[in-house]
């Protein structure tokens, strides 16, 4: 710190990175505030040299070797001036050119530039060809403010593991997209703003994860988590006046940890859920078979019953009608009809049958022999034919 007595010496962190900056050139380092100061000074120096030359010319005028066949002293003086002043003039010219070159600069469409006059903030410039006072009077600090920066956090084994609200561990890798929205604040207010963004991101993500439950984080609430982290980050960075806008937080990975077979256990739950659905579906499928089948069977049973009813009724009606017809005729001649019916029936019945006629009166006292088994056989043979 003791060697800081030179105003330019300790400014290693001079912004802008301008090569001709920081007092490396003795002309650039000239601390005069404006050209008005410099001109008399330069004139004095030039005047001083003029005097020296004049005096040396006056005192050493006898020297013939300086200008062989030298005419007027004035002419000799004019020629002599060019000699020693040449390097000085060139140095001044080069210095001026270097200075002038620091007066023009361009700002890209993606950039914004801060102009600092002796470190004091003067203005912010947008894209285009711009002018400023030469370095080191005015210096520049340029940043690509429009470009969105990505910071990926997590990725290695343990730093991406976080405790959730229900005391589980979740493995999270995420990316923060951000950009500079206020270059002055970004540069003046916060030390290492990019590092601050990272640190705040880590803190915010863990805070949000700590408030949520594992299952929600890895499934339904992914979007809600990223939004909450973004908002919390923005709030914190605004408190710091960091001049940073958090565009988006993306979850690259939000899973159960790989370690110790936890992931397998989680997958098994998914499998189990599928299995559950499969079992239910199978049951529903069989339900869809059994019930319609039963309905079909029921319809069949009903149709059968109706058929039976209709048949029985029809038969009954037919039979009744037949009887009625016969009865009508019977009433007209009951005796004869009755006899006829009887005889016809008996005829039909006895006609093809075996018959044994026994006179009951004549045979009284005699027990007739009846070979019942033979009669039966014959009857059976007849039946077979």
């Amino acid at each position: 710190m003791a060697d800081n007595n030179s105003p330019w010496g300790p400014k290693g962190s001079k912004p802008g990175g301008n090569g001709s900056d920081g007092g490396k050139s003795p002309w650039g380092g000239k601390p005069s505030g404006n050209k008005g100061d410099r001109s008399p000074e330069l004139d004095n120096v030039i005047e001083g040299f003029k005097n020296i030359k004049r005096r040396s010319g006056g005192s050493g005028g006898k020297g013939p070797n300086r200008r062989p066949g030298g005419g007027g002293g004035g002419g000799g003086l004019g020629d002599l001036r060019l000699g020693p002043l040449g390097p000085l003039g060139i140095a001044v010219g080069v210095g001026l050119v270097l200075m002038a070159s620091t007066m023009v600069y361009t700002v890209d469409q993606t950039e914004r530039a801060l102009v600092l006059r002796f470190g004091d903030y003067v203005r912010t410039e947008g894209p285009g060809l711009k002018f400023k006072l030469p370095s080191p009077i005015e210096t520049l600090y340029k940043q690509e403010t429009e470009i969105i920066r990505r910071d990926t956090i997590g990725g290695n084994d343990f730093s991406s593991l976080m405790l959730t609200g229900d005391e589980n561990i979740v493995d999270i890798d995420f990316t923060v997209l951000w950009r500079i929205n206020d270059l002055a604040n970004y540069y003046f207010e916060v030390e290492d703003p990019a590092g601050a963004v990272r640190a705040v991101a880590e803190s915010a993500m863990r805070e949000v994860v700590g408030k949520n439950e594992l299952q929600q984080i890895i499934t339904t609430d992914r979007l809600a988590v990223t939004t909450a982290v973004r908002d919390l980050m923005q709030e914190t960075l605004d408190e710091y006046k960091a001049g940073v806008r958090v565009v988006e937080v993306q979850l690259q990975k939000a899973d159960a940890p790989d370690q110790g077979g936890v992931v397998d256990a989680f997958r098994d739950v998914e499998d189990a859920d599928q299995e559950r659905q499969t079992r239910i579906n199978t049951a529903v499928a069989s339900q869809n078979t059994i019930v319609p089948e039963a309905r079909g069977e029921a319809a069949q049973i009903l149709q059968d019953a109706q058929a039976y009813r209709d048949r029985v009724i029809a038969e009954a009606e037919g039979e009744a009608e037949r009887f009625n017809k016969i009865y009508e005729e019977y009433r007209k001649a009951p005796e004869v009809t009755r006899q006829r019916l009887y005889l016809e029936t008996i005829e039909e019945v006895y006609g093809p049958a075996e018959k044994v006629i026994l006179d009951s009166e004549g045979g009284s006292g005699v027990v007739p022999y009846l070979p019942l088994d033979q009669l039966g056989n014959r009857a059976r043979q007849q039946g077979a034919q």
Partner: protein, 299 residues
């Protein structure tokens, strides 16, 4: 001539050095303490006042300048392993943001940012343990995180104020509050057991629902069939009833004839071929066989 030239150059050089030595710049993000023979005289562009950066004057050679930051500065604390009130171990990794509000006191007590970092590290080691040791692990991880961070900030800020460090603690953030790595296996085991439980429950639920559905389906089918059977019996009954009614209506007219008629019908169907009859000539059928007068003659 040479002596004059040298003298002039030396003089010019001295003038330039004197001018350079009396000017210095303070950047927007810096505050500068001006010392005179090691004694702080004044602060240029100090925090708490309107920004006043730019080109400044000082007495050459006798005044010296020390630059300090005017920005919001970060100290990344070492991770601290601590015991929460419920005896759970936690590794807490935090960072602190502060600002130099009194550059002269800051320079006196801490000298530079490196000194501030060491001092803050010491303060926070104990503050974190004090504040977080009073609450449970769950509070640290989830429930009261923001509140606790605010409390830590207050405690640390008051310590910094008491020690008059010339700084203001802007923010304290817990970056990580996690279990020590040795404890992970235990948590993983619990997570696995929880998942297993859940998986089993899901499978059992599947079976439960499946059985329920099957049973319901079977019951439904049985009921449908039984209902059909019931209706079928009723329909059959209707048919039978109708039949009975029709017969009764027809045969009522002459029950005696019906008996005869129906008997005849029955004989025809009931007495089949192959039957052997033992007949008496007295029977009605053979009455004329015995006597041409027939039954009337005999009577």
């Amino acid at each position: 001539m040479n002596q004059r030239l040298v003298a002039l150059a030396v003089l010019g050089g001295l003038i330039i050095i004197a001018i350079l030595g009396s000017l210095f710049t303070v950047e927007e993000h810096e505050q500068a303490i001006v010392f005179q023979f090691g004694e702080a005289q004044r602060v240029e562009n100090p925090w708490g006042e309107e920004a006043n950066a730019g080109l400044k004057l000082k007495a050459p050679f006798i005044e010296q300048v020390v630059y300090l930051s005017r920005r919001n500065l970060e100290v990344d604390l070492r991770p601290v392993e601590l015991l929460a009130s419920d005896q759970e171990r936690l590794v807490v990794d935090a960072f602190v943001r502060y600002r130099i509000t009194d550059p002269i006191r800051f320079y006196e007590t801490l000298r530079n940012e490196r000194g501030a970092q060491d001092q803050l590290q010491t303060i926070f080691d104990s503050t974190l343990r004090d504040v977080l040791g009073r609450v449970s692990q769950t509070d640290i991880i989830s429930g009261r995180r923001a509140e606790l961070m605010a409390e830590i900030q207050n405690v640390a800020d008051s310590v910094a104020e008491a020690e008059d460090l010339g700084i203001d603690i802007i923010d304290v953030r817990i970056k990580r509050a996690d279990l020590p790595q040795e404890n992970y296996a235990r948590v993983f085991e619990r997570m696995i057991s929880q998942r297993t439980l859940e998986a089993n429950l899901l499978r059992a639920e599947g079976t439960e629902r499946a059985r329920e559905i099957s049973a319901t389906a079977e019951r439904e089918a049985t009921v449908i069939r039984a209902d059909a059977q019931r209706q079928a019996e009723i329909i059959r009954g209707e048919g039978d009833g109708e039949r009975t009614r029709i017969f009764a209506e027809a045969f009522e007219k002459d029950p005696e004839f019906y008996a005869f008629y129906r008997s005849m019908e029955a004989y025809r169907k009931g007495l089949r071929n192959g039957t052997t009859y033992v007949l008496s000539p007295d029977s009605d059928f053979l009455s004329y066989l015995d006597d041409q007068q027939g039954p009337r003659g005999r009577r």
